[in-house]
Amino acid sequence: MELDSKIPEGPLAEKWARHKFGLKLVNPANKRKYDIIVVGTGLAGASAAASLAELGYNVKAFTFHDSARRAHSIAAQGGINAAKNYQNDGDSVFRLFYDTIKGGDYRAREGNVYRLAEVSVNIIDQCVAQGVPFAREYGGLLANRSFGGAQVSRTFYARGQTGQQLLLGAYHALSRQVANGKVKLITRTEMLDVIVVDGKARGIITRNLLTGAIESHSAHAVLLCTGGYGNVFYLSTNAMNSNVTAAWRAHKKGAYFGNPCYTQIHPTCIPVKGDYQSKLTLMSESLRNDGRVWVPKSQQDAEKIRKGQIKANDIPEDARDYFLERRYPSFGNLVPRDVASRNAKYVCDEGRGVAPTGLAVYLDFADAIRRDGRKTIEAKYGNLFEMYEKIVGDNPYETPMMIYPAVHYTMGGLWVDYNLMTTIPGLYALGEANFSDHGANRLGASALMQGLADGYFVIPYTIGDYLATIGPGDKIAVDHPAFKEGEQRIHDMNNRLLSIKGSKTVDEYHKALGHIMWDYCGMSRNAEGLKKAKKMIQELRAEFWQNVRVLGTNEEMNQSLEHAGRVADFLELGELMVDDALHREESCGGHFREEYQTEEGEAKRDDANFTYVAAWEYTGDNKPEVLHKEELEFENVKLTQRSYK
């Protein structure tokens, strides 16, 4: 199948406007004749469900949480970008577009990214009108901060809980539509399959997590707003229940998977403590605005710290290596996430890491406290410092924080065209679940922007084009054999998992997979490691299906069974990520291949051969996937080597 990105013709700044005009419209009176399924109620899902219901469509929204407000978007701390230029510091739609393209290491579509920058301003308007309590100046106007290495202040924020407030805005809009009867909200229900008949998405199969009931739901279109797959690494900043299942099952039904290897490793996370660790906690990137990253210059000092013989404050100034400031004098501690992460790994690999595991670097606020006073620092980061102290038990006002990179965001996801439609007609993917806008690396404060752009301002336009084309009659009832077969497949899979009765828990397999992924397909990768990882994952997957232990039955609340199904999918996805990382013989953004680096150790792209989106097609269980390439064309920006020196 030929990939058609459907990027409209014309000048960059006019593409979206022209495209909108070219899209077919659904007559207002006809909208009520269309049913749309939205899976997931995070930023993308809740905003899409609410906006579509406002237009008049009948929406069924699904979440596996008990409430639509618990999706992991809620945990985003830092902020949301928008090209408002309220600060008069030279920002513009084009600059946000340019920064995003460059930040993504030239592996995203110009058209998509420009549209994202364009609608970013509408998002802020919308959220403020909903009552999102963004930070304000004393005069009552909106405050901004610079974030994640941006040279302009374009990030809007609500303390350290921006994601929470934006999600609540969308949740409130959704709640209003639930009250209006336009959205039917179905909670504690997990999507386990998508039903495709005559080449179109017709509905989904779900499992009620309380009763275990396997049920069918049909609609004219299905939107997957199911987030990213960072939990394939077991330890990540994602929530415990975040998973790839919805996207992966859609992939197995024909939706191509785009750039699965692009993983963002966030530099400022609380380091791992022990085997029992269940997740990693992110400390907002904004900390790097005032904190200085360092490790001891000598391995001996680091060794003593690791053994607890000396403390960070015992290391004199001239024995400290502020390695980001040293290597990147102009950006210093504010280099992009991938650069900061990789450098932390290097110094730890050199044996200069701190913390008993040796896998941590310091983030030190002593200078900032001396310069601005403790009060100022407390006002900026008080809640983050408190959070750190709760988890680690150290007081960051007195001893430097310890941080280490952790998996945070997955730029890859289901391949979608400009309309956010996957390769299955009628099946859409929004937010982190799709691959679209961030290229090989996402800038800070851009995930919230993308999720809401997709849900509030893109899908309400683009879905009409498809619906108007198929017409209201083109829907299949749930008693269609395809649905019955779909239900049976889920029953069979669950019965199979329950009948293995092996000796290892689901968690043990998940952890084992995570170790493989982190060691060989994590912050830096090489061909040899990736080949090894592929084999290890295949073996682990085979063992999982022989020896996993899942107790209980399907017909009850069964958290082990839920987890088992998700880990089964991760075990397949992991291999595809490795394949993708292996085939991409270059370094770009979040994908760093050790074989392809500059003499200074920076990522070295191969624009001649790899300026494309890798879209993978599923061909059957345990069969190699087929690679399709969507060439990326750059007409408005010049591809340069990223330099943060």
Binding site: R69, A129, P133
Partner: protein, 252 residues
């Protein structure tokens, strides 16, 4: 550390439950409270026993899923935090820890430590929003909000809807949750249009759900992971009385 856990086990909402004792021998003080449950569940699985069901997700104190009543307190002994943010260093070697679900008529137990908190969503649906359709908003800076007002709104809006206020209240009252919701919108200029209707409807829904009344003991605010202030409850009272006295809604 060695820990004795007494955990509420209940098959489903129709079956009575009881406290069951578990011994844990290898607990690290750096472990989070929920990681201890992960370890226990791993051991139970190996032994062929049913695992303990509990709600949890983000494990960083913001999603509001986790909800354990630990040694007589909502979210355990550490104030200003959720169960997932509680670490074993808050306990001592040899401690016995009693873990129960939230208990309220409006929060029926689903299984073990998991309760149904959809009552909160229904209260939000009753009016916890500003009616603004996508696309119809004016420029964001056309609505100035004084910083102090934005801060007050944020203080209220940061509620994570975990239900600790209900769990801690001797009357299982949801006043702090509803107050936080109503306050968030009541102080903002954007929330004025629906201000009276919102207070009336949300309180009516709160009563319908079967929560208790407020005795102003302050337990909710102390146990709230976000330390939401009792000021908001006073504001809710004010909003509600004001709404009832001034609205045109004669039907009640």
């Amino acid at each position: 550390m060695k820990i004795t856990l007494k955990v509420w086990r209940q098959k489903n909402s129709n079956t009575p439950g009881k406290l069951v004792e578990y011994q844990l021998d290898n607990i690290s003080p750096d472990m989070s409270f929920l990681e201890m449950f992960d370890v226990l569940n791993g051991e139970l699985t190996k032994k062929g026993e049913e695992i303990i069901a509990f709600d949890h997700d983000c494990r960083e104190g913001i999603c509001g899923s986790c909800s354990m009543y630990i040694n007589g307190r909502a979210h355990g002994p550490q104030t200003g935090s959720t169960t997932c943010q509680l670490h074993m260093r808050s306990f001592s070697d040899g401690d016995t820890i009693v873990v129960e679900p939230w208990r309220a008529r409006a929060f029926p137990v689903i299984k073990d430590l998991m309760v149904d908190r959809t009552a909160f969503d229904r209260i939000a649906q009753a009016g916890g929003y500003i009616s603004v359709n996508t696309g119809s908003a004016p420029d964001a800076n056309e609505i100035p909000v004084p910083r102090e007002v934005a801060d007050t709104a944020m203080d209220a809006a940061q509620c994570i809807a975990c239900g600790a206020c209900v769990a801690a209240c001797k009357n299982a009252s949801a006043m702090l949750y509803v107050a936080a919701k109503v306050s968030h919108f009541a102080v903002l200029p954007q929330g004025q249009a629906e201000r009276t209707m919102r207070a009336e409807r949300m309180v009516a829904q709160m009563d319908t759900e079967g929560f208790g009344a407020c005795s102003f003991t302050g337990a909710c605010s102390v146990e709230c992971p976000k330390s939401i202030s009792l000021d908001h409850i006073a504001r809710l009272n004010r909003e509600y009385l004001g709404a009832k006295l001034t609205s045109n809604n004669v039907q009640g």
